[in-house]
Every structure is written in C-alpha cells, then in structure tokens.
Symmetry: D3
Subunit: 133 residues, 6 copies
C-alpha cells in the first residue's frame, strides 16, 4: 500500500547497507523498520536522516525518554499514524508506562483544544511573554 | 486585534470572577492571561477549561515540567503562536533551561520531518508495533 | 491496530463502568464506541471527556445538529478519520440529510482553499474586522 | 507585510474590475477585502474563486449562516488568522450572536481535543459507522 | 469504508455522467477514480471541481509536471493518503522519475522541519522579505 | 516577539560563526536571516540544519527552482508565515516570476480543497495506485 516499494536486504546499495548495519547495532535487533526500507531508495537522504535522528535523540539536556515522548506527541499532532505506533513502541522500550502514555494523550488533547481556542480569539501575545535582549 | 473583546476585571460575571480568583491563587500573581479574558464571555466554558487544565497538568505519572514541554511541542505543531509563548514561559518558570528548549525545538523539527516522510511513503504500521489483547 | 488495547466491559474499573452506563443511557444503545474503550484505561480522563462532550454538545445558543456538523467539519480539517465517521453518523442520526453532508464537504473544501491562499499572500487583517472595546 | 502587493482599483485589469464590481454589489459596500486585492494579480483565478465562493455559500440544503459558521470553524482548524477575522465578521453580519460564536469556539476546541486523542489511540472505524451500498 | 457510497456508472445523473465522460476523455482511460464517484452525489460540486482542476492544472507559467509535484507535496503536508497516492501516480504518468519523487519527499521533510523550528522561535518576517508597493 | 533572543554576530560561538561565514558565502550577502540568529543558541543543530538544507536543496534530479517552489508550497500548507516570506524571496531570486507564484498559490489552494474533500469521503486508495514489488 506504500507509494514506493520497500527494499529487501538483498536490494540495498552498499551505502544503504552500511546504514542498516548501524540501525541494527543501535537497536540491538535484526529487524529494520519499513520506514528505512522505503528511504533506502535514496541512500544519501537515508544516511542524513539516520545521522540526524541519532544526534537529535541522544542524551543531552533532556533525557532520551522525554525526547521520545515529545516525538510521539508531535506525531499525534501531525497525524502520522506510522510514526505514532513506532515511536510509542520506542518510548515503551525506554520505560514509558501505560499511565504515562495516557497522560501524554491527555496533554496532547488539552493543548490542541486550547490551541484552537486561542487561535479563534486571535489574541496577541502579552508583552510579558516575549523574549528580551 | 482579537475576534472578541478582552474583558476587564470590572466586567466579569460572578462565575468568571471566581475562576479568575483561582487562577490568581494558583499562579501566585495578579496577572491573568488574555486567553482567560477572552474566554470570560462564556463563564461555563471558562470554568470547564480551567478545571480541565488543572486536572491534566497536575503531577501524576508524568512530572509537571515534562507535561509543560509536551504542551509547548504540541502548540508548535498546531501553529498557535500565543500558546507557544505562554507555555514556553510556564515551562521556564517550572525549570526548563535554554538548552532544554533548544533540544525540544530540535525534536519537534525532526519529528515533523520524518512524520511527513512516512506519510509520503504511505507505509503501513508493522504488525509488531500494534497493540495486542 | 490501536496503540492501546480496547477494554471489554468485564475489564472496566467501577469509575469507567459508571461512565459507560451514562453513555449507554444517553445514546439509547448498548453499543459503546471503541474511542471510549481505549480511553477507559484512564478513568479520570474518561469521566472528564464525557462530561465535557455532553456540556459542549448540549442545546444552547446553537442547536445540536449545527454543533454536530461543526464537529464533523473540524474533524475533516484535523484529518481524524475515526472522528469523521462517528460524528457523521451522529449528525445523520440527528437529521443531517445527504445533500446537507455534501454541502458541508463543499464548504470545508472551499474554506481550506481560501485559507491556504490567504496564508500564502500573508495579508494582515483589515482594521475593520478587528474587535473593539 | 504581504508576499504580493495589494492592487488599488486603478491598477485592476478589466477582468478583475468586473469581479470587483460584482463583489461590491453582492456585499452592498464599496469596501473590497485585501484578499481580493492580492488575488487580482491573477484575474482568471480571481474569477474562478469568486464564482466558486458564491456557488458554495448560496442558500441550499444548509442555510447561509450555518455555512458561514462552518467556514469559520474550518479556518480556525487550519490556522488562518485573516480568514477567521473576515468570516467571523460575515457570520456576525448574517446574525451570529456572541453566545453562538463562543459555542462555536467551544465545539472547535472539543473536537480538536478528541480528534487528537482518537488519532493517538489509532483505533479503526467501527464497521457500523462505515457507509454501505 | 467511505462516509458516502461510491456511485456506479448506472447511478449517475445526466449532469454527473457528462463530467465522467470528460474525465474519461481527458485521462484516456475508462477508469474513473473513486473520488469522483463519491463527489457524484453532488453534480454541481462535481462539475465545479472538475472544471477548476482542469483550469488550475493546465499548462501555464508552470509546466504540468511541476504543478503535479506541488500537488503531491501539499497533499503530504495536509496528510491526505488518498491524494498522495493518486497524484503521485499522475506525476509519474507525466514523467516524474523515482529519484525525483525521493527528492520531493526530502524537500517536503526538510521544509516541515524548518517550518516548525521557525514557528517555535516566533520570529517576525524581516523587513527585506516583505512586499512593497 | 521571538521566544528566544536573536544573537548578534558578536555573541556567536566559534562553531556558529563558522556556519554564518558559510551562509554569507553561499548567499553572496552579508545579511543572515533571523532564523539562523535564533538557531545559533544551539551550534550543533545550527550546523546540522545548514548542512541538511544545502544537501537537500542542491541541484539533483529536480532543479533548484522547483525545489524552492516545493518548499514554499509546503510552508503555506504548514502555515509558517516566516518561511513563506523567506522562501518566496529565495524562489524569486532564483527566477520565479509573479505569474508562476500566482499559479503556485492556485495549485496549493486547489490541492487543499480536494485533500479535505477526499478526507471527508474517507475513500480507500484504489488498488491501481498502490506500489508493487
């Protein structure tokens, strides 16, 4: 049902295969998500995307589980069913409990409700909430 | 610039005034955001929205700062400028550092990029990421 | 295919069961939509959401059918397939005819077209359309 | 602040001027919204868009005020500030009261909240809500 | 799975049949997409939509393949799975190569990432990028 | 009005300054957009984003002007005012004529209209438009 064919391991270019090897090592499983099998048609973008994801999702000022939950929340707001499922799975693998997922959903819903209300009212940002030099 | 006039304290109904009193007590400041001054035209919805926000954002399985950052991330994805500014201010008041905000933005951007790519490919969710009974 | 398991009646907490009883009474049918069976994992949010929906959708300044059609229109713009189907069914149960549904779709399409055009032009709101004190 | 210059009456092509004459006659005012002054750079699209709006928004199975409120609701969900202001003004001109506008906003907010929740749960549409031949 | 029944050729009104004849002639195939079979319930909107699509997508200042690729890109950003598949097929029929599709996806992803980042930062448009009279 | 302060040249880290030098060289102007001045708070993300944009927007299977127009179209659909203005300026600098911009807007509008209609109908993708192995 995809717009591009999903590549099997046998069909990968050398560059794509190298990325798949890194994905397998990083995830500790032989399974590679279909997202990467679609992206493998374009090895340069596959490499750039995988490197970016690793950089963005690495531990930093925020811990990896918080980042994964932010990823899930944005995927819900953007309406990407594939991304919701795969990143919810990642968040669970990193320790997200079911009550935490239900709270995340409640926050996403609440924010979406007040986002639309504030947009409807067309109110300007108060001076006090603007950044300053 | 708003689609409804912002109500001053003197114009509030008794029901709206009661909610404003609670907002002031909860926030520890006399300032009440313009969002509430717009919503005050409809005291029933004002009450329901304030009660819901308090319930959703209270400490639970997720800590309040994580919830506030989820709120900011969703507001970015939904494109609500007012909400981004006010909830970024709340998150900072709860301890969000500038490097944390920058990482949050990087995650929202990355998620939005891969959300669109996955949508473009039209790939189905792998069986392994679906919930089970 | 869901990210959370749908709870059967036998698995409901007492609080969730009470909400399901109210849903069944209000809808006049034993069937409870799967949305509520997912939300039942979080009885507090289930209760809050059901109470809010009843309050928002009750007859008021707008009649219930108009509210239901607004709900459908927003669900289309937000891209929620589940919500489009269930609320279109509710609207039909409240009297929406097929020509009315087709007109609703035409309005949603037209609005989306001019929304994007106006956004593309980046034009400011004329002074005459702004609210005044 | 626009991406295209707004055309004055003196700059209109004959085709654009004819559409402006119709807008003025239909609206009963000499004022022509800036949206049309931007679109006037492309007289063919100006003509098509004006004709389409008139056709879609004319009385039919739904009354014009309901259509205008659907237009406002969709504009909120699509985040078009210009469209929210101008169509809220049109709806008010057609009789929308302030309590009706506040209820409209509450419905848009509620729908957006449950839209995101249902999307988060990834639930399939129940068979009973699907159309049949 | 649709919210409206798809009409067979035998069920078309005379007005709808005339549009279907034009679609078949323009596309050079007897197949008519299900989108038109749903829209056929409203022959006036069917006629207007078909006429508009032909006018918008005809060769002009932009060539038809570029227009078709813009259509695909917008459909991805709007999250319309049906539209992505059908317009990607049209673009391929007009000559879009697989490397071109992969680059299109990369641009849509990149734009979505920086769109959200710029929205998060809430920065105003520089004076130099605003249109002038 | 931004959520983060825009950094002046004097405040840049060495890593950020190196990226600014590349931006200036690539664009052939001393002006650096405010987007980069916000992103400069996070030099690692600044570097990654600039490198990604250059890679994605370089000539390839699609020519740079087509890519820039795709970028503008997606920015409209995502509702990023800042991005619409800056990328429309880039597209004009690469040769986009005003009639081409107006046609681009017409395509974005038309696509958004039919995107919502198809979503409203909830129709499944025809078998013939699905990818095959």
């Amino acid at each position: 049902m995809a717009t591009v064919r999903l590549l099997s391991d046998a069909e990968l270019s050398a560059e794509a295969r190298a990325v798949f090897d890194e994905i397998r090592a990083a995830r500790g499983t032989d399974h590679v998500n279909d997202f990467w099998r679609a992206l493998a048609h374009d090895p340069v973008t596959l490499r750039r995307t995988w490197d970016s994801i690793r950089a963005v999702m690495a531990p930093g000022a925020l811990d990896p589980l918080v980042k994964e939950m932010l990823y899930v929340a944005v995927s819900i707001a953007n309406g990407c069913d594939y991304c919701i499922h795969t990143h919810a799975a990642s968040a669970r693998a990193k320790g997200m409990s079911e009550p935490q997922f239900m709270e995340l959903v409640a926050v996403v819903g609440m924010a979406s409700e007040t986002n639309r209300m504030a947009t409807a009212f067309g109110i300007e940002v108060d001076e006090r909430y603007r950044a300053q030099g």
